[in-house]
Amino acid sequence: MQKKFLNKYNEIILKNLSSKKPFLNDEFEQALKYRLKSGLSSMDDFYKAIESNFRIEKTQKDRYIGYFCSIVPEELLIACCLKPVRLCCEEYAWTNAGEEILPGDICPVIKSICGKFYNNVYDYLDLVIVPGTCDPKTKLAELLSPVKEIYFLDPGRNSDYLDNVDKWTALYTKFFEFLKQKFQCNAGRKQLLNACKLTNKRTEIFKKIYELRIKSPDVINAFDYYVMIYVSFFMDIEQWNNMAEKVYDEAKEKHSLSKKPKILLAGSPVIFPNFKILDVLQQAELEISSDIQCTSFGRFYNPVVIDEDTESGIIRALTLKNIAGSICPCLLNLEKMVNLIIDTVNQYKLDGVVYYNLRLCQVFETQTTVIRQVLKENKIPFLSVKSDFGKEDIGQLKTRFEAFREIIQSGKE
């Protein structure tokens, strides 16, 4: 069994940091106003799903497992008939709640997660899987261990396939055994195959949407796209596939009218309530047509390719998809990121790259210098922007984005 981290001190921590009054985040209702912008009628059930997400009652039968990065294999959870819920959240209100527990200068995502856990928003979770990708996340495991049972998944920092694939397979098999033993379900090869089929279907749908958005970005605008991504965090996969399929079918016929410059949004992920970047980009008439972020592209683009359909073969294919194929900057992935950016821009003839750094998240920021120099070499306009969840620097962001647009447009003539 996974040993708890702070066995001795759990009670002390819980007593002192016991849950305060639950934070009312009005910011959430305010965020739903994006609903009016979306032209597609089939997007409504996605927005409805968001509201329902905040009232998940713990039903007896299905168990919810919280996890964070796309390093964690969803297929194993689905195979054990558990409900995976992704907990990465970027809400300004919750970061303030988190600041009561953690000191100020810590990655805002970690603060908002701690805020949520210590204000028992996530009571319905049975287990939380924390990957050891970046440093604050490893500390998060210890932070959350008083509140919830934690399983710590540590893939190591090297994403090279040849040296580490056996290590990863052992890691995933141990994780799978732990899940089966904890939840007493005998998931075998058949369940794994079904789970992989589901995720592959999701990948197929995502690719269609991803390519359609590049062709005509304003048909499925950026807000709808990121809302769909956010809904896939907690919604059941089949349900999500059908809804997304409907959105794609509806959007297929429409054609794009916008002549705005097409932007590739790279860097740290944009998750539902924190749509500040999308707002400002839209005001600056820049069209986000594609993105390389771990919550959306990194998680959905690579299918699980099963060549060896034995049980260990499937688990090995999963490690390839989730760790070797991941674009998380916490692993040694800089060359892969730069390749991806250059290739996506050249292949789809985009106009520029906006690199969104989350303030206080050093992992993304250190990459900007290399990416800046390489893109300058390849004559691709590049703008790196550092910002937080708060709304105070919208003015500065707008000047940057408008200047960037002017650079692109003058570059075009």
Partner: protein
């Protein structure tokens, strides 16, 4: 199953049926004696009175079916004289070399055969192993069985594969030297036992007759030499089955015909290209390669990654999630064995 492997499996099955049951299917096509004379390929048979002819009575160890093949020629794949009813082609290239070394036929009669062999290898390189070889198809079926029985694959390190190819070369050299030795007059009397040494221990000798449901002569313990050959044949057959059962295509590292093909792999018509910019190092290609090669994963610049071990099964191209990263060209012209998925169609209009 993606599109490339569907077309590959179809080709494999068709070739299996053709090469093994060719003898029955094309019975009336068999070349009559005088047609043999006009054909550009001279008829190669043993010099008069040589001992090896006596060995060829029907049912003997080297000629179980006793029928003549449809085409008296030697393709660059492991097809055997032990096929039921003579099979489609006479035999594999190693049989051709050891036979003619024993009979000491002059080079000029061998030239047409060698030229045809080199031409076929130059066009398709080792694709013969991946797409045509019936023994490989049998092996793939064994791998398919293992997967269905949920037995995990055994992956071998690179140096193990080096040793295997080394053994393959050693076997080939021993076989060819023996066949030249017994060609000499004063050693001629050994021909009856030592003729075609490699064929006697090759797994195909025991597998091919099984297709025709005729009993391969499993054991021949009459003299010291034949017992040794049978024991060796059993050991090699056991290794063949174990190799295909636990590892994928391990036998192909050792099979001499494949080794001869692999000399043409780098320069052959089929070129496997990689665009390093598109690669995100996800490792799918190296994981899926039945021969366990990793060059297509490691190279960082835009090159052709043909290598001698590759049997051109194109699983890596089919499996790569990044469109356009790995591609295959035939003498420079791009060709797609697979239909485009609709996601690719949408992106096609984007360009």
């Amino acid at each position: 199953m993606n599109k490339i492997s569907i077309s590959r499996r179809i080709v494999q099955v068709i070739c299996l049926i053709l090469l093994v049951y060719g003898g029955y299917i094309f019975k009336d096509w068999k070349q009559s004696a005088e047609a043999q004379k006009q054909s550009i390929f001279p008829s190669l048979n043993a010099p008069e009175g040589s001992i090896s002819t006596t060995k060829f009575e029907k049912g003997s160890i080297l000629w179980p079916s006793g029928a003549t093949p449809v085409i008296e020629n030697y393709p660059p794949t492991l097809v055997c004289r032990f096929n039921p009813n003579g099979g489609m082609f006479k035999a594999c290239i190693l049989h051709f070399f050891s036979e003619n070394l024993t009979w000491r036929t002059s080079i000029k009669y061998l030239l047409p055969y060698i030229t045809l062999f080199v031409l076929l290898c130059f066009l398709f390189g080792r694709a013969w192993c991946g797409w045509v070889c019936p023994i490989g198809t049998v092996g793939d079926f064994l791998t398919f069985l293992r997967r269905k029985m949920n037995i995990p694959v055994k992956r071998f390190p690179a140096n193990f594969r080096m040793n295997l190819s080394f053994t393959g070369y050693v076997l080939m050299v021993i076989a060819l030297t023996i066949s030249t030795l017994i060609g000499m007059p004063n050693l001629a009397r050994y021909q009856c036992y030592w003729f075609l040494p490699y064929c006697q221990i090759c797994p195909a000798r025991l597998i091919c007759p099984m297709f025709g449901l005729i009993k391969p002569n499993w054991k021949d313990f009459s003299t010291g030499i034949t017992t040794t050959f049978t024991i060796l044949a059993w050991i090699v057959l056991g290794f063949f089955i174990a190799a295909f059962y636990w590892g994928r295509r391990v036998w192909c590292h050792m099979c001499p015909v494949g080794l001869i093909n692999s000399w043409f792999n780098k320069g052959c018509g089929i070129e496997l290209h990689k665009k390093a910019v598109k690669c995100i190092k996800c490792g799918y290609c190296a994981d899926v390669c039945p021969m366990g090669l990793t060059k297509m994963y490691e190279i960082d610049k835009d090159t052709i990654y043909n290598q001698t071990g590759c049997i051109m099964c194109m699983r890596c191209i089919e499996v790569c999630p990044r469109k356009g990263c790995l591609s295959v060209k035939f003498f420079g012209k791009k060709f797609f064995l697979r239909r485009k998925t609709d996601a690719e169609k949408v992106s096609q209009q984007v360009q």
